[in-house]
Symmetry: C2
Subunit: 409 residues, 2 copies
C-alpha cells in the first residue's frame, strides 16, 4: 500500500509539475498527514525537492510546492550499435546531463570486447555524474535486435553477428542494467526527447529496419516484446531471399546493406560470414576477404548521400526503390496498427530528401481510397541519439512508477 | 473522487469475485466507512448484491460478501452483417441471457430498412429481458467496417454497400448505443466468451477480412481505432486490384468473394455495383443482372465447403492459395504486432480443414529462422456469434469501469 501511494504521489508530482502537499492530498484522496509523510520519504530519497512557496488558488494560503528533483537521482542510457557506442546520463527531471559517444567498428568484434569498451565509457560517465552530485540508480542498454528482457540476453543481432549473448551479465556495472531492443528505445527517445508527438510509428533504419509504435504516449510491444519487426514485413512474396528465411522482406529493399549494394557500393551479405559469435579471430582470418568482397562500413550512408548529391543514377534508383518498398511495408503497417504519424529515423534521416516522396506517393496510392488522410511521414530530429536517450528515459519512467524499489536500496 | 472510488470498488468486486467489505477496504486503501457507503450505492444501483457470509481468513470473523449482480443490469450486443442480424442480452455477471438471430440478405438493402429490422429485433429482446427482471442500460452495435465511434457513423462497409451511414442515430433505441467495428468486437467476444485466451490475433474472415489484436486482455485499436485491417495487408504488390485502391491485398486472395470466384461459384465484384447507399431500388433495378453475373450469397461458404468435401480441384486450389496468402499477410502481422496465438474466425472456421495447413506451412517457412516458435493457429469456437457477444461484453466493461455514470441516470 505504501509503495502504491509513494508511486501515486510521485506520479502526480511528475505529471503536474510543482504542486503543494495540500493539492496532492486533494488529487490523490489521501490524507494530508499521509501525503506529508510520503513526500518526506521522497525528499529523503532525493526524488523530489521543495522549491519555494506558491499561493494556493482556492484558499489563498501560501503553500510550499514540491517538484521532481533533477539534482540527485540519474539514469544511464547505453547503446551498442554497429559503428558507435553511446552513453547518456539523464537526471530525474529528464535533463540530459552527459553525452559520451565513441566511434568503433563492432561488425567483427567479440561481444566481450565490445562490452568491456562500453563498460569503460559508462564508468567514466558515471564518475563524472558523481562529480556533479548525481547518483546513477540504473541503466538500460539498447541493442540492435530482439532481446530476452528477463535475462538480458540478446537473441540475435545480425548486424553485430551476435546470437544468444548474455550482454547484461557481461556488462557488470555497479547498478542494474536492463537490455532492450534499439528500435523500441528509439521510439521512446522520440517520445520523451523528440518533437513532442505522442502517437507515431518510429522507423529505425539501419542494416536492419526496426519500428517502435507509440500510442497515446505508450510503447506497444506485443505479447512477447518482439513487435515492430518492420524489416521483415513482406514487400513482395517472391522477392530476394532474406536472412530471416523469408523472401522479399522490406530489409532486402530498404536496409542499409541493400541500399549500398544497389548503389554499387558494397556487398550485402556481411552477416552471413559473421553469424555465431562473429569472433575477432574469424574476422582476422576472413577480414581481408571480407574487405575485398566489400563489407559495408560506417561510412556507407555518407557515401550513398555523396552519390545522391552527385545525381548518381544507381543511387537515385536505389532510393526510389527503397522508398517504394518502405511505402508498401508501411501501408501494411498502417492497415494493421493505425499509427497517427510515421517518423523516419536512423539512415532515413540523411536519405529523406531522396526517399520521402516515394514513400508518401506509395502510401497515397495504396491507402488514399480507404482513408480520409494518409498519415504524414516526417523525419526524426534525434538522429542516432534516439535509442540511448530512450534507454535513459526508460529508467526514469521506472523510478517514477515504483519509487519504493529505490527507497529500499 | 467518488466516481473513481466507485469504479475502484466495483472493479475489485468484479475481478476478485465475492469479497467482504473489510477485504475491499484493505485492498483499496479506503476506509471501511467509505467502502460501506460505496457498496451501498452500488447495491442501490443493482450493480452488486450481498450473497451471504463467509469467514474472513485473517481475523476469523464472519463477514457478508458482495459480488457483481447478474439480476438487474444488462447490456445488449447488436450485429448487422451481410446475411444475418443478431441480438444478445448479457447480464452484468457476463451470463448470456437472450439470443436472437434473424437470417436476412442485407447485401442490397437500404440502411434504414436494415436498421428498422434490427430495432424491432432489439426491442423485442429488451422486452423479454424486462420480463426477466433485467434493465438494459446500453448497447453496442457491430458493423463490418471502420466506424467513427464518436458519432456512431459507419465510414465504409463495402459488403453492405454502406458509406457514411449514421447508424447510431438511425437506430433510436431507448438507451445509448455505440457503434464499433465487427472485427474488434469479435476479438473481444473471443476474449470474454471464447476459449480463455488473453493474448491473440483474432481474424474475422468475411467478404472483407478484419482482425482484432488482444494483448494481455486488452484490445489494441491503434491511434484512431482503425487498427486490424488485415484484409488490406499486402500479399503481392502487383497482385489483383483491390477496392481499397491498392493491389494484391489479402482480401483479393482469401476474402469470401475471392474464394467463391476462384472456386468458380460467383462473381467477385458485387460491391462495385452497390457502393453509395446500395439502395433497394438499385438492387431491384440491377438485381437480375446481379444474379446473372453471380453475386455471392449467404450460402457461398456452405457451397464452397460442399465442393471441398467432393475434392473439387478448383475449390482445393482456392483454399491452398488463400491459406498461403493468409500466411504471407499473417507473417507481416506477426513481425509487426507479435501476437501469441492466431485465432481464425468467420469463414475460416468451416474452411479450416482446407486452409489451416497452408497457413501454418507459410508461417513456418517465413518466420521459422527468426523465432523459437511460430504462433499456433487455432479456430474460434464462437463462430458468427463472436461479434454480438463482444458488443454486449463491451457495455458490461464500461459499466464496471464507470459505474458512477449509471448511478447518475
Amino acid at each position: 500500500m505504501r509503495a502504491r501511494n509513494l508511486a501515486l504521489v510521485l506520479g502526480e508530482v511528475n505529471s503536474r509539475g510543482p504542486v503543494t502537499r495540500a493539492a496532492l492530498a486533494e488529487i490523490t484522496g489521501l490524507t494530508k498527514t499521509t501525503v506529508s509523510k510520503l513526500v518526506a520519504d521522497l525528499i529523503d530519497a532525493g526524488l523530489v525537492v521543495e522549491t519555494g512557496a506558491v499561493r494556493d488558488g482556492e484558499r489563498g494560503r501560501p503553500g510550499v510546492v514540491v517538484r521532481v528533483s533533477g539534482e540527485h537521482v540519474a539514469s544511464v542510457g547505453l547503446e551498442i550499435n554497429v559503428d558507435y557506442l553511446a552513453v547518456r546520463v539523464v537526471d530525474l527531471s529528464r535533463t540530459v546531463r552527459l553525452r559520451r559517444t565513441q566511434a568503433v567498428d563492432n561488425r567483427f568484434a567479440q561481444p566481450g570486447d565490445v562490452v568491456a569498451l562500453l563498460r569503460d565509457l559508462a564508468l567514466k560517465a558515471v564518475d563524472d555524474a558523481v562529480d556533479m552530485g548525481l547518483r546513477v540508480v540504473g541503466g538500460v542498454l539498447a541493442v540492435p535486435g530482439p532481446v530476452d528482457q528477463r535475462t538480458g540476453t540478446v537473441h540475435n543481432a545480425p548486424n553485430l553477428g551476435w546470437r544468444e549473448v548474455p550482454v547484461a551479465a557481461l556488462l557488470e556495472l555497479p547498478f542494474p542494467v536492463q537490455v532492450e531492443n534499439e528500435a523500441n528505445l528509439a521510439a521512446l527517445g522520440e517520445l520523451w526527447f523528440g518533437s513532442g508527438l505522442s502517437d507515431f510509428l518510429h522507423v529505425s533504419g539501419e542494416i536492419g529496419i526496426g519500428a517502435g509504435l507509440v500510442v497515446r504516449g505508450s510503447l506497444f510491444q506485443g505479447s512477447h516484446g518482439y513487435a515492430g519487426e518492420l524489416g521483415h514485413v513482406v514487400v513482395s512474396p517472391d522477392g530476394p531471399a532474406c536472412r530471416c528465411g523469408g523472401r522479399g522482406c522490406l530489409e532486402q529493399y530498404a536496409g542499409q546493406d541493400a541500399l549500398a549494394a544497389a548503389t554499387g557500393l558494397a556487398g550485402t551479405d556481411v552477416q552471413a560470414t559473421t553469424t555465431g559469435n562473429g569472433s575477432r579471430a574469424a574476422a582476422a582470418a576472413g577480414g581481408g576477404a571480407q574487405a575485398a568482397t566489400g563489407g559495408t562500413t560506417a561510412g556507407d550512408i555518407s557515401r550513398i548521400v555523396a552519390r545522391l548529391q552527385a545525381q548518381d543514377p544507381a543511387a537515385l534508383a536505389a532510393c526510389e526503390r527503397a522508398g517504394w518498398a518502405l511505402g508498401v511495408a508501411l501501408s501494411s503497417a498502417i492497415n494493421l496498427v493505425d499509427p497517427d504519424t510515421i517518423v523516419l529515423g536512423g539512415i532515413y534521416g540523411p536519405l529523406f530528401p531522396w526517399i520521402g516522396e516515394a514513400v508518401t506517393a506509395t502510401l497515397t496510392s495504396r491507402l488514399g481510397q480507404m482513408r480520409d488522410a494518409v498519415p504524414p511521414v516526417v523525419v526524426s530530429r534525434l538522429g542516432t541519439e534516439a535509442a540511448a536517450l530512450g534507454a535513459a528515459g526508460q529508467v526514469i519512467q521506472r523510478v517514477i512508477a515504483d519509487p519504493a524499489a529505490l527507497l529500499q536500496t
